[in-house]
Symmetry: C2
């Protein structure tokens, strides 16, 4: 495919993905960590797929929170986008220290049509980067997407809630302040990861006035019907499906070990 | 680590892995497809881990049977060997068209201590490659391992059974003929994949006189206690654990879809 055709195809897919945030229904995306999980979700009928940096990193043998080399993370992202026909949005953590323009160019080159950028400070002294500094990254990412001609869906994480910074009311106030800044800088969607209180979530949704992404899990999260009633527009599962599946695999492994007669178990000589 | 230290470490691990084939118990290895699955199996107490080319290829977005580029398959193998401390043996399919010496050098460079080589003919006209041609590859692989100073455990697959070539008696006769040839060429272990008849398996084990690897599955294979009684020395699960886990993930996906209120499902506009 020529560069021009690639941009046109990706731009059309980005527009389709953008429409999925505008209702009437709620966009629900499971989070894939490899090509196989992405294909499984596509086959189940989900209209779009998000990646989970935690699942990708651990499946590659690294820790979450930018513990994996960026090149390996992006290569894994490319395997996921190639594996499915539906739109894919990438969890890019805090951007791996890459300039926003390069990050957006790489995202488009991989065929992805959206990305998450979080305001946690993985490499510095603080818990979060300054709100203004993160807003500048969002603005730079938006400008880079415009320059490329692909209107990527920028989902900005707000990590005040997951880090439990202050009282719930303080979290809400700071979360809304950051959310409004990121929105004004060009974020299409805001993701207050870890926000689990329905009343605070409802207040957040009302205050920011753009689509809100919330994470849930198979067991124990706010039910999808409740999230829809609150006005959440996009739901993802973060690393929870990956972790649930690893637990199942651990169960398979234990079950096999338990089926071994003692004299047939060849232990390591270590 | 210097090259010399690397060779010494790998040689010691290969010797440890070789001892696991000598009893008294049966060596049981689940098959990993990524770093996370390998770590899960190691944590469950398995003394060594095998890879599954089928699981690796599909998790990367390709088909089994050498559908994936060799560089991607070997990179994935390296992620698995780096992730665990226990010995790892690689499923190298039919060798990806690489010369045996290069294949063995790459295997050692990845820190693996054994490999599978199969006699299926993925790229030619026949079902199997000629027995003499496969025996020559085994001999060349053995010579390459010796030259490197790492006594890798060479596990030669015999694909007569999985392809159901002839009557069960014909499969046994051709399987034993090939097994003896591969053994004499330097194979340490023989793997008649797909052999599910206990009487024929017992006859095969008796006739070849070297450790035999058989594949089973969580549900429906010959029980581990029976395999041990027959004298099987090594048991693996081929792609079955990967497939079982993909089925579980498909169930998760369906369960999430079914939990969505109809008006909250945002279908693809396609």
């Amino acid at each position: 495919m020529s560069d021009t055709a690639w941009i046109e195809t990706t731009a059309a897919r980005a527009a389709e993905f953008r429409r999925m945030h505008q209702g009437p229904g709620m966009l629900v995306m499971p989070n894939a960590w490899d090509a196989a999980s992405a294909r499984t979700f596509e086959a189940a009928g989900f209209p779009a797929i998000a990646t989970t940096s935690g699942g990708v990193a651990v499946s590659l043998g690294y820790q979450d929170h930018e513990g994996a080399p960026v090149e390996e993370m992006l290569a894994a992202a490319g395997r996921i986008t190639r594996a499915v026909a539906v739109p894919v949005t990438l969890d890019l953590e805090a951007g791996y220290g890459l300039p926003p323009a390069e990050l957006i160019q790489r995202t488009v080159a991989l065929g992805a049509v959206g990305c998450n950028l979080e305001d946690s400070d993985h490499h510095g002294e603080a818990v979060l980067v300054g709100a203004d500094a993160h807003a500048e990254r969002i603005a730079a990412a938006r400008a880079a997407a415009r320059a490329l001609g692909v209107d990527l869906v920028l989902n900005s994480r707000i990590d005040v809630f997951i880090h439990r910074m202050g009282t719930p009311e303080e979290q809400l106030a700071e979360g809304v302040r950051r959310g409004q800044l990121y929105r004004d800088a060009g974020a299409d969607c805001l993701y207050p990861i870890g926000l689990r209180d329905e009343a605070i979530l409802a207040a957040f949704v009302k205050a920011v006035g753009v689509p809100v992404n919330i994470n849930t899990r198979r067991n124990g999260g706010i039910p999808l019907t409740r999230l829809a009633a609150i006005g959440v527009r996009r739901v993802t599962f973060a690393t929870s499906l990956f972790r649930d599946l690893q637990d199942v695999l651990g169960g398979f492994a234990t079950e096999i070990r338990d089926a071994l007669p003692l004299d047939a178990v060849r232990k390591s000589s270590a």
